[in-house]
C-alpha cells in the first residue's frame, strides 16, 4: 500500500468544489478519510459503484468531500438509507461513515438491526467520545467520569463498548482500530469492504479541540500518542492477563465469520418464489 502515490487522494476528492473542509485543526476525521481513500484506491472498484452515506455530526460531513455517489442524511439514519440503496442495487459498495452519537445513540436501533440482518454494508464508526459538532455534549461513548458540556461534573453514565454491541447484535465482521494506526485502518477498511456481510469498524479518534480541551488530554500529537501507547493488538492482548488490559484499546479484527447475507438471501427468496410461480 505504501507505493500508492500521494496524488491518489487528491484525485478522489471534490477538491475544486468543497474545500476547505469543516474539521478543526488536529481532528482525526481527515486522517481516517485518507485511509479510506487509500484502501479504496488499492481495490480496483469503479468509483461509480461506491456510495458513501452518512448521518449528522463531524465525521458525517465526510461524503461531501469525496468523489463517489454521496448521501448526507438525517441524524442517526444513515444505515436505514444505506439499507434502501443496497437492497435496490446490491452490486453497489455502500460505505456508511458515522460517529459515536450518530450510530450508538440516535441511530443505535438501525445499527443493531442492520447487524442482525447481516446486510452487506461497511460501517466506519469514528468514535471521538463526544458530540463535537454541537460543541461537546456527552455521548454514549463518553468515558465514565469524563467531562462534557452536558456532564460538567463528570459523566455518571457508563459508556458503550461499540464492538461488543455490534457483535451482540450479530455483525459478521467487527474490528477496532485507532486514527493513529493509519495503515491498519486502511487494511481493515479494505478487508471490511471485501467482507460479504455487515461490517462495523470502530476507529478511535481524537477531538482535541473539544473533548481534549475539556478533559485536559494535551494537543493533537499527545492524543494520537496516547492511542499508540494505550492500545494493544488483538494478537498480543490474547496473551495478556485481564488486569493488564484494564483501560486498553484492543485493536484488530475482533470477529470475522461468514453468515448468510441479507441481499443474497432476498435474491434467493425471489428466485424461489418465482420458480414456484408465486405459490406458497
Amino acid at each position: 500500500m505504501a507505493n500508492i502515490p500521494q496524488r491518489i487522494i487528491h484525485e478522489w476528492l471534490r477538491h475544486d468544489k468543497k474545500f476547505p473542509h469543516v474539521w478543526c485543526a488536529g481532528c482525526s476525521n481527515g486522517i481516517v478519510l485518507g485511509s479510506i481513500i487509500r484502501a479504496l484506491a488499492g481495490m480496483n472498484i469503479d468509483r461509480d459503484d461506491i456510495v458513501m452515506v452518512s448521518g449528522i455530526g463531524c465525521s458525517s460531513r465526510m461524503p461531501v468531500y469525496v468523489d463517489f455517489n454521496t448521501l448526507h442524511t438525517l441524524h442517526g439514519r444513515s444505515i436505514a438509507y444505506a439499507t434502501g440503496i443496497k437492497m435496490h442495487k446490491p452490486h453497489l459498495k455502500v460505505i456508511v461513515v458515522t460517529g459515536d452519537g450518530d450510530c450508538t445513540a440516535i441511530g443505535g436501533n438501525h445499527m443493531i438491526h442492520a447487524a442482525r440482518r447481516n446486510i452487506d454494508l461497511t460501517v466506519i464508526l469514528i468514535n471521538n467520545s463526544i458530540y463535537g459538532m454541537t460543541g461537546g455534549q456527552a455521548s454514549p461513548t463518553t468515558p465514565h467520569e469524563a467531562i462534557a458540556t452536558t456532564a460538567p461534573y463528570g459523566n455518571i453514565e457508563p459508556d458503550f463498548n461499540v464492538c461488543d454491541l455490534a457483535m451482540g447484535a450479530g455483525a459478521s465482521f467487527v474490528a477496532r482500530t485507532t486514527a493513529f494506526h493509519t495503515v491498519e485502518v486502511q487494511n481493515i477498511v479494505r478487508e471490511a469492504i471485501d467482507h460479504p456481510g455487515f461490517a462495523l469498524i470502530e476507529v478511535i479518534s481524537a477531538c482535541p479541540v473539544i473533548y481534549g480541551r475539556l478533559n485536559k488530554k494535551g494537543g493533537p500529537p499527545q492524543m494520537l500518542k496516547d492511542m499508540r501507547d494505550n492500545s494493544v493488538p488483538l494478537s498480543a492482548a490474547e496473551k495478556l492477563p485481564p488486569e493488564k488490559l484494564e483501560g486498553k484499546i484492543i485493536r484488530g479484527v475482533l470477529r470475522k465469520e461468514i453468515k448468510p447475507e441479507f441481499c443474497a438471501s432476498y435474491a434467493d427468496l425471489v428466485k424461489r418464489v418465482q420458480e414456484m410461480g408465486g405459490e406458497k
Binding site: 468544489k17 455517489n69 448521501l71 438509507y81 440503496i85 435496490h88 442495487k89
Partner: protein, 411 residues
C-alpha cells in the same frame, strides 16, 4: 342562478375544477376494457395500485390499520422481483424508501398516525432533496395511540405542516376503494414527476371497507417515470434551475456521482449558506407546486350547478355527504357537494368559486376543524356566507342524517 367566476388578482393562475363528471376526474384511468371485477379492501387497492404504478420497493413497519398493505406487498413484490423489507421502525422505513429511490427505485411505504408522526423528519428530507417516494397514511383516531381501529381525519393539517420548515406538499385523498387504487397510481406518478414525497391519506374505514372494484387493463394505466438525464456526468446538475422546476434525476450507480444532503444546497446539491442560493432552493420547492397547481389539483363537483348550499368534505365523509345531498334534493333543498381529491395544494380557486356561488357552506369532518380552517381562510372574499361546521372525533362516522339535520338547523 350561478354567478360568473371572476379571476381575482391574488390568483395568477386560476385553478379550473377539473371535471363535473366523476368518471372523467382521473385522466389517467379512462378505461375501456376492464381487467376484472373483484371485491377488494381499500388497503388491498392501495397495494395493487402501487404494483400497477411500477413500485418495486416497499419498506414498512406493522401498524393498524395499514398493515394489509405491507402484507400484500410482502406476498406480491418478490414475485415481480421487487424488494419488500420490514424495517425496525417507521423512521427506518421512510429512510429506506428514500435511499432506494435515490438508487432508482419507485418506492412506497404505508403507515398510520403514530408511524406517520415518526416519519415527519424523513418526509422533510425527501422533500428538500427532491427524492420521489410515496407515504400512505391510513388515518386512525389520535392523538397518540388513540383508537387504532376507529376512523378519524386528524392528519389533514399534519400532512401539510407536520415536518419542520417550509416544505410544500402534495397530498391526495380518495373516497372509495376504486379511488384508493387510482390515487395510489397517481401518487406514484406525481412523486416521479414532481420529485417529491407524495402523501396518500386514507380513512381507516376506507382502508378496511370492501367494495367491488373493476381494475383497468394494464394498457390503460398511465404510468409516469422520472426523467433521466441525458447530459454527460460533468454537466449534470441534480437540481437544475433551468428546467422549469422539474429537472431530470440521475440514480446512484449510473456514473453521475452526485451529492445529496438535507442541508440547504445549491443546484449541484452541495451545501450552501449563501442567501441567494438558499432563496433559490426554497423558491424552487415552492414553485414546483404552485406553478403546476392545475396539474395537481383534482376536485369532484357533485350537483353544484344550481346549489345554494354546498357541502365541502373529503374521504369517507364525502360519501355520507353525497347521500345527504340526494336526501336534501328529495326535499327540494338545492345542495351540492365539492370534494377535493387533492387536499394539498389546497384547491383554493375551486373553493373561492364555491363560496361565490352558494349562501351556506357545510363542512363535516372527523376532526376538530382542520378542513374548515382552509375554508375560513378563503371565506374573507365573502363575509356574508354562512359556515356550518360538523366535527366529530369519537371513533364514530358522520352519517348522512347527521349532515342533513345539522344543515337544516343552521339554515
Amino acid at each position: 342562478m350561478q354567478k360568473k367566476t371572476k379571476t381575482t388578482k391574488t390568483a395568477p393562475k386560476p385553478t379550473k375544477p377539473t371535471a363535473e363528471k366523476p368518471d372523467s376526474k382521473l385522466g389517467e384511468l379512462q378505461t375501456t376494457r376492464e381487467r376484472k371485477t373483484v371485491l377488494m379492501q381499500g388497503n388491498e387497492a392501495v397495494a395493487y395500485g402501487a404494483l400497477d404504478a411500477g413500485c418495486d420497493f416497499f419498506a414498512g413497519y406493522p401498524i393498524t390499520p395499514s398493515t394489509e398493505i405491507a402484507e400484500i406487498l410482502a406476498l406480491e413484490l418478490p414475485k415481480r422481483g421487487g424488494v419488500f423489507v420490514q424495517m425496525e421502525d417507521e423512521i427506518a422505513s421512510i429512510c429506506a424508501i428514500t435511499g432506494a429511490s435515490l438508487a432508482g427505485a419507485k418506492s412506497l411505504t404505508a403507515t398510520s398516525g403514530p408511524g406517520f408522526s415518526l416519519m415527519q423528519e424523513g418526509i422533510g428530507f425527501a422533500r428538500i432533496t427532491e427524492t420521489p417516494c410515496v407515504v400512505v397514511n391510513v388515518q386512525r383516531v389520535g392523538p397518540s395511540t388513540g383508537m387504532p381501529t376507529s376512523c378519524a381525519q386528524g392528519e389533514i393539517q399534519q400532512s401539510r405542516w407536520g415536518s419542520h420548515g417550509d416544505s410544500p406538499a402534495i397530498v391526495l385523498y380518495p373516497d372509495s376503494v376504486k379511488e384508493c387504487y387510482e390515487l395510489t397510481i397517481r401518487a406514484v406518478n406525481l412523486a416521479e414527476k414532481y420529485r417529491t414525497c407524495v402523501i396518500l391519506l386514507l380513512d381507516e374505514v376506507l382502508g378496511h371497507m370492501r367494495e367491488a372494484v373493476s381494475l383497468p387493463d394494464m394498457a390503460n394505466v398511465r404510468v409516469i417515470s422520472r426523467i433521466k438525464p441525458t447530459v454527460p456526468p460533468h454537466w449534470y446538475k441534480h437540481y437544475d434551475k433551468n428546467q422549469k422546476y422539474l429537472s431530470p434525476l440521475a440514480s446512484y450507480g449510473e456514473g453521475y456521482r452526485f451529492h445529496v444532503t438535507g442541508l440547504t444546497h445549491d443546484q449541484l446539491g452541495f451545501p450552501t449558506n449563501k442567501v441567494t442560493e438558499a432563496a433559490e432552493m426554497m423558491d424552487r420547492l415552492r414553485k414546483k407546486i404552485t406553478y403546476n397547481i392545475r396539474d395537481l389539483v383534482q376536485i369532484e363537483s357533485y350537483q353544484m350547478e344550481d346549489a345554494k348550499i354546498a357541502i365541502f368534505a373529503a374521504g369517507i365523509v364525502a360519501r355520507a355527504a353525497k347521500a345527504a345531498v340526494a336526501m336534501a334534493r328529495l326535499e327540494g333543498i338545492p345542495v351540492g357537494l365539492l370534494r377535493p381529491l387533492t387536499i394539498w395544494p389546497f384547491p383554493d380557486e375551486a373553493v373561492r368559486k364555491m363560496l361565490r356561488d352558494v349562501d351556506i357552506v357545510v363542512v363535516p369532518e372527523l376532526n376538530q376543524g382542520q378542513l374548515v380552517r382552509e375554508i375560513q381562510r378563503l371565506v374573507k372574499d365573502r363575509s356574508d356566507s354562512k359556515l356550518i361546521k360538523i366535527q366529530r372525533v369519537n371513533g364514530q362516522l358522520i352519517s348522512p342524517q347527521d349532515i342533513l339535520s345539522t344543515m337544516k338547523e343552521g339554515m
